[in-house]
Amino acid sequence: MKAFKFVLKSCTLMAAVFLAIQSPVLATEFDIAGRPFFINGFITQEGALGVDNSHLSGRNLSAYSTLQLEWEYKFNDKISLYGINRLFGDQAYNIHHNRSWFKKANHQKAQESNARRNMEWEWNINDRGWEVFREIYFDIYTENFQFRIGKQQVIWGESDGLRLMDCINPQDMRYEFNLRDSDEGYEYTRIPLWLIKTTYFPKIKPFGIKDLQFEFIINPGKTRINRLELYGSEGGVWATEMPNLPRGVRVDVTDKNHATGIDKAEFATRIMGDYDGWLFTLNGYYGYQQENTAILLPTGPTIAAPWDEAFLTLNFDKKFYHKKLVGFTLNKELTAIRMRKTTSPVLRVEALYEFDKPFCYEGEHIGDMAWTGLNGKYSEARKFKDQMRMMVGFDWQIYLRFLNKRESFFTSAQFFVFYIRGKNGEYVNAPFYFTNKVKGELMPPLPPSRDGSRIDPWRIHKTQKYFSFLMNTYYDNKRIMPQVLYLCDLNEHAHGLKAKICFNYGSHWRPEIGTMMWWGDHDTGKSFGLFQKNRQVYMKIKYQF
């Protein structure tokens, strides 16, 4: 198998290089057995420099390399095979792996052992997910059905920046958070799954609903969770922060994956249609939790080894709880509202209701830390609560002729509200939820109960509120595109900002420069503030063919 994968990787690499140096015509379409074979792709190299006033300032934080081939072979008008082969990695793990600043980027000595192996290239000896074929599936069309069978991504929802209904594929969150590709549809970080997707087009118009279609998705049993590689493997600047535990305490999580089996099947369904200009979907999902904080189950403490620079280890197993939700999306252009008699906003709404979502339980008082399983007062480390999530957004293309005579400014504002019934603050982002202040002040780590005023851990608020704003425009016949994306966690007073300029000169080269900034109002231990040390400017050069 290793040899086979090596051959595949080599072939992909050689094919990409060959296609890149050939003419665009050659690289676009071939004829195989009398049928068209389309192939495109790109090669990208990125580099980022830290600009925060921390030990990472001026350092080369990341050096992403991507080589991607996208291809499609049409057997006939009804059947085609589509695939993406991608070679992706962060060469910073190759370039800097021996440098002390890189090893200690998170001040966590334990987090360097497997970093280079896992992060340098996505294809590595742990190529468990067949990343050699990032996607590969058959499309089969009939008069009333479309079947898509294979490894694929299914994207639901209307939201950008935060994922609500977009719940089918998990995410690879090892490299960066939100800002890296949230403005580009999570194309880099979404993890494809082996799925069977069936879409039925009934060709009827009940109640005046046009374009009605029903979607059924089955994951036959190979489920995945968000990839975070908790504790003990990943190093480098984007590695998962060790929780800000008090000194002398560490966390260990079993390296366990969700078992594969037909009894682990996941199901999703969606109805889509257009009623008088309201494009709507009704969604339902029955699968498994993908968030790492939602699956940890305490198994008790052990004495830590001295070389771990700790005396106590909090041990966790993974428990794969079900995820059950229903929801809907809507969009419509509000033509009754006009901006100086030009354009109207497009309203986007997305809402879901999740049943029995598992939360790390803090207890009745802040500091009880029931989630550790060590507080005898509480029998439960988790609570299962229903949660509602909602987004209301407006896309509005407005003309500011004094700034841009030819093109509009695309603006997109979104308001998010997540609501949990229950006491405020009794659920926490454990074990990530301690702040630096807590870490500095608490010793020993596990008091039975403390006064809530003394500490301020990263709690999950009963009502969470977020805001995002995106704006871009084009100059010089769409050859220059400046864009700004701003994210705000209104509860934690945390902010994220990504500003970039893309240059679209010619048909092949696509350079881009930009910056990503994070702020946390309280300290660096919460929300976007976790990434404050990773403030950066970056440059990307892409050759597409």
Binding site: F42, Y82, E135, L279, T335, N477
Partner: protein
């Protein structure tokens, strides 16, 4: 007596038949004969081949019917015009001999279209931007016509058409709403309702060549284009409207195929019959892998990287009732326009630029000015030549809100005289302020029977989604 009556009947029938179908008797109408004679005189095989098609019995029959319906033909109108006598068929005007003909040539581009001469001379707005020099090959004027379906529908339905509130068209079913237009607004409605000159259209691919300040092609963008009329259908059943879709005027869909960062972008645009209802614009955005609604009201942004906006689509695709304007008929004239070009336009690197060579002829046109009343609208005004025979737009000037000449547009029509189908060939749009040009290379098929609703709905977007 019987013999005499029989003789009269036969004679009458013969006269009628000869007048209606002159080609059947081997006698060509003068407008066809003059073109055929000229083609023969040139010895040019392309012209001779074209003349054969133009003078075929089917062409003559249809041309005669249209002439009868309109009551005029372009050849006769042009013959009465004595402007610029040196500009005559057979002449080829190039940057090398332009000075000899400049004065007369300018007379044939009234109402601000002299930029065509400047293009050849490298003067005026093209003084510092002469990368698209032109070679004009003058040919005789054609009598041109549209599809028979338009004529029959116009006869049947035009009497009910009138202008309503907000300058909207009322009472239209199919065909030309105003075959005898009395004012500029009616002329604009005529062109608007000809839509794509047929019931449906494929252009696979439609290629945009984008030319920068130095005149070099800096990008190519390719899309597959489909268009379909839901009402006003004149040729492909069901006619005149698709059952259950009378609220929709037309739908268009595109899927981008090149370059890579555009590839997969798919969009369906719907124009509604309701004068106050805005377009719907639903897209599949490959970078987000989502079906997303964009603002149908946003018609003023350029399409992809080109100089063309939805407002400019097919020369004019503004929803009249939404964007209030003053429509003025500046006059009628015989002008020089791109002729029917049966062969693809010739491009050569010549005269220090990207030279185009195509056929030109004198055409009778209406000159229409559309002055927009909205200060926020992208243009201050447009001026266009509208052909008096085909009712199609021939050339167009766009002025910004300050009154500066901003964009200029000409194109050739490709035409099948045997069935009257017209389609776009070589739309050429230059942005004179930003010094940028777009040449759209169409590969059009018209009036197909298999272009179904599945190219214009959510299923189409879903099928293109990855």
């Amino acid at each position: 007596m019987r013999i005499k009556n029989l003789f009269i009947i036969v004679l009458t029938f013969t006269v009628v038949a000869l007048s209606v179908f002159p080609a059947a008797a081997g006698v060509l109408p003068h407008w066809a004969q003059q073109w055929k004679d000229w083609a023969q005189s040139t010895g040019n095989s392309d012209h001779i081949e074209w003349a054969e098609q133009y003078c075929s019995p089917e062409s003559i029959k249809l041309g005669t019917e249209w002439e009868t319906y309109l009551g005029y033909n372009a050849v006769d109108i042009v013959a009465k015009d004595k402007t610029a006598p040196s500009i005559k068929p057979g002449l080829v005007i190039t940057p090398e001999n332009i000075k000899q003909y400049e004065k007369e040539l300018r007379q044939l581009f009234p109402y601000g279209f002299e930029w065509e001469v400047d293009r050849i001379m490298g003067s005026g707005p093209f003084a510092d931007y002469n990368y698209f020099p032109l070679e004009m090959e003058i040919v005789p004027t054609h009598h041109q016509w549209n599809d028979r379906g338009y004529m029959e529908a116009s006869k049947k339905y035009s009497s009910t058409c009138k202008i309503g509130e907000n300058d909207a068209l009322v009472g239209w079913t199919a065909g030309l709403p105003f075959p005898k237009p009395e004012n500029a607004l009616q002329m604009v409605h005529n062109y608007d309702r000809l839509t794509i000159m047929g019931d449906n259209l494929n252009s696979m691919p439609l290629q945009f060549g984008l030319y920068g300040k130095d005149g070099k092609r800096e990008r190519v963008e390719k899309v597959e284009l489909h268009w379909r009329n839901y009402v006003g259908r004149i040729k492909v059943p069901p006619m005149p409207a698709i059952p259950g879709a009378k609220d929709i005027y037309e739908k268009g869909s595109i899927v981008a195929t090149y370059p890579y960062d555009l590839k997969g972008f798919t969009a369906v645009r719907t124009r509604y019959a309701d004068p106050q209802k805005e377009d719907s614009f639903v897209t599949y955005i490959p970078s987000m892998r989502r079906i997303r609604r964009l603002a149908g009201t946003n018609t003023q942004d350029p399409l992809v990287g080109s100089d063309i906006s939805w407002e400019d689509w097919k020369g004019y695709w503004s929803k009249i009732s939404i964007h209030p304007a003053e429509y003025k008929l500046l006059g009628e004239a015989v002008v020089l326009c791109p002729s029917i070009n049966p062969k693809p336009i010739k491009y050569e690197e010549k005269y220090g630029g990207f030279s185009q060579r195509y056929l030109w002829e004198r055409r009778p046109v209406w000159i229409v000015e559309i002055a927009n009343k909205e200060p926020t609208y992208i243009y201050g005004k447009r001026v266009m030549y509208i052909d008096k025979e085909t009712f199609a737009m021939q050339q167009e000037n766009f002025y910004d809100q300050k009154g500066r000449l901003w964009k200029v547009w000409d194109w050739c029509w490709r035409w099948n005289p045997e069935n009257g189908e017209l389609d776009y060939w070589n739309p050429f749009l230059v942005d004179l302020i930003n010094r940028h040009a777009t040449i759209a290379n169409h590969h059009i098929m018209l009036n197909m029977t298999n272009l179904t609703e599945n190219y214009f709905n959510l299923r189409y977007l879903s099928s293109k989604a990855h």
